[in-house]
Structures are given as C-alpha cells and as structure tokens.
C-alpha cells in the first residue's frame, strides 16, 4: 500500500503538468519581485525604472518573434551574468549571486510563458 502511494506520488510529481504549474507559480512571483522593476509586471519592457533617462529599452518578453531568436541558454546566461555577457547593456544586472539555479530555471520557464514560444535550440 505504502509502495503504491509512493509510486503514485512520484508519478504525479514528475508529470509535466505538475512540474510546469509549480515552475510557473514560482517564476511569476520571482518575475514580479525582481524583473518587473525594469521589464514591467506584464513583461512588456515598461517597468517604473524606464524613465526618460533610462539608457536602453528593456526587453519586451511578449514579442514572440524576437524571443524565438534566443535560446533558453541565452536567457539563462543573461540572467546569471547580466547584459554584458550577451553584448547587451549593464543595466541588466547579474542575478547569479542572488538567485538559485532553480529560481533561474523558473524564470526561464516563465519568460517562455510570456512569449508563448520555445526559442531556438542552442
């Protein structure tokens, strides 16, 4: 009985629906807390920091065609090391010392939800 319960639990935990939902929930919360400052709560690149003085346009994650051009690895690298790793602006900070690997992955997943795209395979 215990074995059956554990097996069921494992199947549910590993199912795409379950992991996807958990990742989306975390990713959304992380995005709202860390990324929305510049990228906006809807991910359209219009956060409160984007005043007339802001030197660049933060990426609009809802632009599917643009987001299709970059891979998950590209996104991951920029989150961890900041804009300069991809020859982009240092206004995109390096979050690698702030976020855990799981949090970075949750954010990558959430950005893919925002763009409704999968991106190029690296």
């Amino acid at each position: 009985m215990t074995r059956l319960f554990l097996t069921t639990l494992l199947i549910v935990a590993l199912s795409p629906a379950f992991t996807g939902a958990a990742q989306a929930a975390d990713g959304e919360a992380l995005f709202g807390f860390y990324c929305a400052q510049c990228h906006g709560t809807g991910g359209e690149g219009d956060g409160p920091n984007v005043t007339g003085d802001f030197p660049v346009d933060p990426r609009n994650f809802t632009e599917t065609a643009e987001m299709e051009k970059i891979s998950d690895a590209d996104i991951r690298n920029v989150i961890i090391d900041g804009g300069p790793i991809a020859d982009k602006s240092p206004m995109m900070p390096p979050w690698g010392k702030t976020l855990t690997n799981a949090e970075v992955e949750a954010l990558v997943g959430y950005l893919r939800q925002l763009c409704n795209c999968t991106g190029k395979t690296s």
Binding site: A29, G32, F33, N49, D53, K97
Partner: protein, 220 residues
C-alpha cells in the same frame, strides 16, 4: 594620588552620560511604541525574512540597524518632516509612494532619534570608507559598469537622474552612513535577506564596493 582625583570625576561623568543616553533611548523607545511605529518597522535583529512572501508581508523598512545606517542630523530633520525616500510605495513596483508617513512632534524627535541611533549592527566598521569630495572610480561603477543608476535616483549637474524602484540616493551623503553602505554591499543578506536589489558580492571587489560607498557619500 593627584591622577586618581582627576580620573574619578571623569569616570563619574562618563557613567552619568552613558546612563542618560540609555535613559533617553528608553524614553524614545516608549514614544516609538506608543505611536505604533513598530507595527510597520521591526527593531529586533537579526533579519528573519526567508522568502519573497516574507518580504512582501512587511509594511515598512526594518529599523533594527537604524543607528548604523542613518546619520543623526538627517534622522532628526526627517522625523519631523518625513518625505518619501523611495519613489515607489514600499514593496511595490507599480504604485507611487503616496507619502503621508507619521510625523513626530519636536519634543518626541530627540528621544526617538536616541532610540533609533542606539540600534546598531556589529558588522558595520566605523571609518571603513574614506570619503572625499569626489570618487571617480565609484562614479564610473555607479553610472557605467553596474546598473545602480537604473534603480536609484541620484543628483546630476542638471538636477537628478535614475530609476524609481530603489530608494532615492539624492541627499544620501547626509542620510546614509558610508560605512553602512559598504557593509550592506559586503553582506547584504545580513540586513535584507530578500530584496529587489541584486547581490554584488563576487561581482564587485571589496575595493570597488568601497569606491561605490564613497561615491554615494558625495550625493547631495
């Protein structure tokens, strides 16, 4: 014998001064609590926030290290005429700060400042940052190399510039203790375990952090 006679009054004076300071801090704590300040600001460290939800549950900035963070003259002025420091509402990235912080009366300010200045963090090293009129290395990091200006307003020749999600650094030279700024850059999670600002440990060298703290200290 002569030395003993002169040392004794000095010791008595020292003990009395110390006792008076404690008494004022205690009186200030009483005012702080009777005004309900602790309902938004916690004053007992260390920080306990572990998750984003913990941080978002807070109603105002923690003050358990206020005496290490702020400069007393600024604190006294602010308590009677509190103006928003962060352009956005606390913990929000979309709602502007409406202001309206509670105001203390002139007779409450001294004791409350005594109390807040008595709240200190051991990791802030006095004199760690050497403040000069200019710190060009710190300025370069603040404006060009790192994204500090993206989130923090700062003074410029024109007037001011910078983003809105972080606390404004206009007037930071009078508001913040540069040694606290350095300690915060070195060990941010001691003060704010969960915060919107990235951790720069391992990104900036200790020397860079000192330069940034010294540059922030020049902000008028």
């Amino acid at each position: 014998m002569k030395t003993g006679v002169s040392v004794f009054p000095a010791l008595v004076l020292l003990v009395m001064t110390s006792s008076l300071a404690r008494a004022d801090a205690a009186a200030g704590q009483a005012v702080f609590e009777s005004n309900g300040c602790q309902s938004c600001h916690y004053t007992q460290g260390p920080a306990t926030e572990k998750t984003i939800a913990d941080q978002l549950a807070k109603k105002g900035p923690e003050l358990w290290y206020a005496g290490s963070k702020f400069q007393r003259p600024w604190l006294e002025t602010w308590l009677v005429d509190p103006q928003p420091i962060r352009p956005m509402k606390f913990n929000s990235v979309m709602e502007p700060n409406p202001g309206g912080h509670a105001v203390l009366s002139a007779d409450q300010v001294g004791p409350v400042a005594d109390y807040l200045m008595s709240l200190r963090s051991d990791i802030v090293q006095d004199g760690a940052v050497k403040v000069k009129k200019k710190n060009l290395k710190g300025k370069l990091i603040f404006i060009k190399k790192m994204p500090c200006s993206g989130c923090h307003q700062f003074p410029t020749k024109k007037k001011f510039s910078g983003g809105l999600s972080g606390p404004s650094l206009i007037g930071a030279g009078k508001r913040l203790n540069p040694d606290w700024v350095l300690a915060y850059l070195r060990e941010p999670k001691v003060f704010k375990p969960v915060k919107m600002m990235p951790v720069f440990v391992g990104v900036l060298s200790d020397k860079d952090m000192k330069n940034v703290a010294a540059h922030v200290a020049t902000f008028k």
